[in-house]
């Protein structure tokens, strides 16, 4: 067969197969969601709320303007708050203030170890 013609055939087959395989994966993911999705969602959120020390959340909510415009830090804080609240509604952060850490050094080390164990 003419190489160009065969090339066109390979292209056609290639695009169709790539789409078919990924559409099949899409279907499987959608099915997986209905089997394992929601149940896991609720328990996970409850765990997060239980583990969250309450004063930390309050401290973040209280506010004073912060001078540095650190987009990444804001994104992380926003993600942490929305994960711990577990709400679907849109969250608006108006101010973020750094509060002094009153945890003793041994407490900090303990917390650090806890986090490392979960990595």
């Amino acid at each position: 067969m003419n190489p160009l013609l065969y090339g066109l055939l390979v292209t056609l087959f290639g695009i169709v197969i790539v789409f078919l395989v990924l559409v099949a994966l899409w279907g499987i993911l959608a099915m997986m969601k209905s089997f394992f999705g929601e149940k896991g969602n609720k328990t996970a959120n409850q765990n997060v709320i239980k583990n969250e020390p309450a004063p930390a959340a309050v401290a973040v909510a209280k506010a004073e303007p912060q001078d540095a415009e650190d987009d990444e830090l804001i994104a992380v804080i926003m993600a942490a708050i929305s994960a711990s609240l577990g709400s679907q509604s849109n969250l608006v952060i108006k101010k973020i203030t750094r509060v002094g850490d009153s945890t003793p050094i041994w407490g900090q080390i303990g917390r650090h170890e806890q986090m490392l164990n979960r990595l």
Partner: protein, 398 residues
């Protein structure tokens, strides 16, 4: 007096200067330029430095680092006379297709498929961005019309795969289809991956309106641990059953990912997960980079074909980006404006650079928009997509 002169001549003849060819000289300069780009400009230093130094080592005259072993027959028995150069042996990992799947194993262990599981329709963007592979494949075949350049079907397939923006996949497929082109293809693939932040934004902006770029997407749902564990197993089964030739790449990617996700169930798996993510991948990157660089032999590399491959590689990247963005626009229309088409460009693999580019361009249009996690979905889907595309090319052209 003449004795001293003779000795000096002998000394000169034993140095590299006496036997260096012009091609080797050019390649040494090229490797120094690549080293400069990697060290000073920060172009993919993790990969470009091993590649560039491998290139430098392999083009040293008379050092023979890339030479294979030589044998001699003594009393009817074949004995090894010279074991050959180190780079020759390191290259066997490339030639036999060992390193690329190991890199995929590490990539799997580093990748969180959560954004893809949370938003499964983004998987289609990972398929659309593979368009670049196939258009470039046809483009390479069409070059036949030009005098002096002609690519076989196998060579064209290997060039097209550059558009998958996935180094290990490109190397894997090229070693199977057109091993003599491994040098230029690997260099083109990795150079363009480093240039993703320069290549993609103009295409993305040209194909979308400001209104489309400003779309803020809904927050992704939470993905349960069970889903994350089942995902790699299911993907391996489905892809490998449909396309056995893609089994090795997708299988290793998913194996790495399973080890990553298994840590939550069995904390002892942390040891394997950490090794896969760090030490193993780092070691393989060093070997792979050096060995690939070493294939850029002056005589083979400095040809018109190499220039054509580098041009076609750029077309492949651009077409892949365009394919993803155009499909993103279709999804924008179909979803009633809920999908930001910019995440489509992340469908070319290049994890996570392509997703970062989507985030950056999105934020230029709307500073309060965070597209990164949404773009990670098509981004990791692109890795699966390009492995599948490589599987198709391998089974039809191999």
């Amino acid at each position: 007096m003449s004795f001293i002169l003779e000795e000096l001549v002998k000394l000169y003849q034993s140095t590299g200067f006496a036997v260096i060819t012009w091609q080797q000289t050019v390649m040494l300069v090229v490797s120094c330029i690549l080293l400069y780009l990697a060290l000073k400009k920060g172009f993919e230093p993790l990969l470009l430095i091993p590649i560039a130094f491998g290139m430098l080592l392999a083009n040293l005259p008379a050092a023979g680092l890339m030479n294979g072993p030589t044998y001699e027959v003594v009393d009817g028995i074949s004995k090894m006379k010279d074991p050959g150069g180190l780079l020759h042996w390191l290259y066997q990992g490339v030639k036999l297709g060992i390193y690329p799947p190991l890199i995929f194993f590490g990539v799997g262990a580093m990748t969180d498929f959560g954004p893809l599981i949370a938003n499964p329709k983004s998987i289609l963007l990972g398929a659309a961005a593979q368009l670049g592979i196939f258009t470039t494949f046809i483009g390479a075949l069409l070059l036949d019309k030009l005098p002096g350049i002609s690519f076989t079907l196998q060579e064209a397939g290997s060039i097209g795969i550059i558009g998958g923006a996935d180094g290990p996949t490109a190397i894997f497929l090229t070693t199977k289809l057109a091993p003599h082109l491994i040098g230029p293809i690997a260099v083109a693939a990795y150079s363009y991956m480093a240039l993703v932040p320069l290549i993609q934004p103009p295409i993305m902006k040209a194909l979308t309106t400001k209104k489309e770029r400003e779309v803020v997407m809904e927050q992704l749902r939470h993905v349960s641990k069970t889903e994350k564990i089942i995902f790699p197993i299911l993907v391996t089964l489905v892809v490998s059953l449909v396309l056995p030739s893609a089994a090795i790449l997708v299988g290793m990617l998913m194996f790495g990912n399973l080890i990553r996700e298994a840590v939550d169930l069995q904390s002892v798996m942390n040891r394997l997960s950490k090794t896969a993510q760090n030490e193993l991948t780092n070691i393989v990157v060093i070997f792979l980079g050096t060995a690939v660089g070493a294939t850029a032999n002056g005589e083979l590399f400095l040809q018109v074909k190499t220039l054509a491959i580098i041009c076609l590689g750029l077309i492949a990247f651009s077409m892949g980006t365009a394919g993803g963005v155009i499909f993103g626009k279709i999804m924008y229309k179909l979803s009633g404006g809920k999908v930001n088409p910019l995440i489509g460009s992340a469908g070319v693999s290049a994890v996570p650079m392509a997703a970062r580019v989507s985030q950056k361009v999105g934020q230029e249009a709307n500073p309060s928009n965070y597209l990164l996690m949404h773009a990670m979905g098509p981004n990791v889907a692109g890795v699966i997509g390009s492995a599948v595309a490589a599987g198709v090319l391998l089974s039809m052209l191999g």
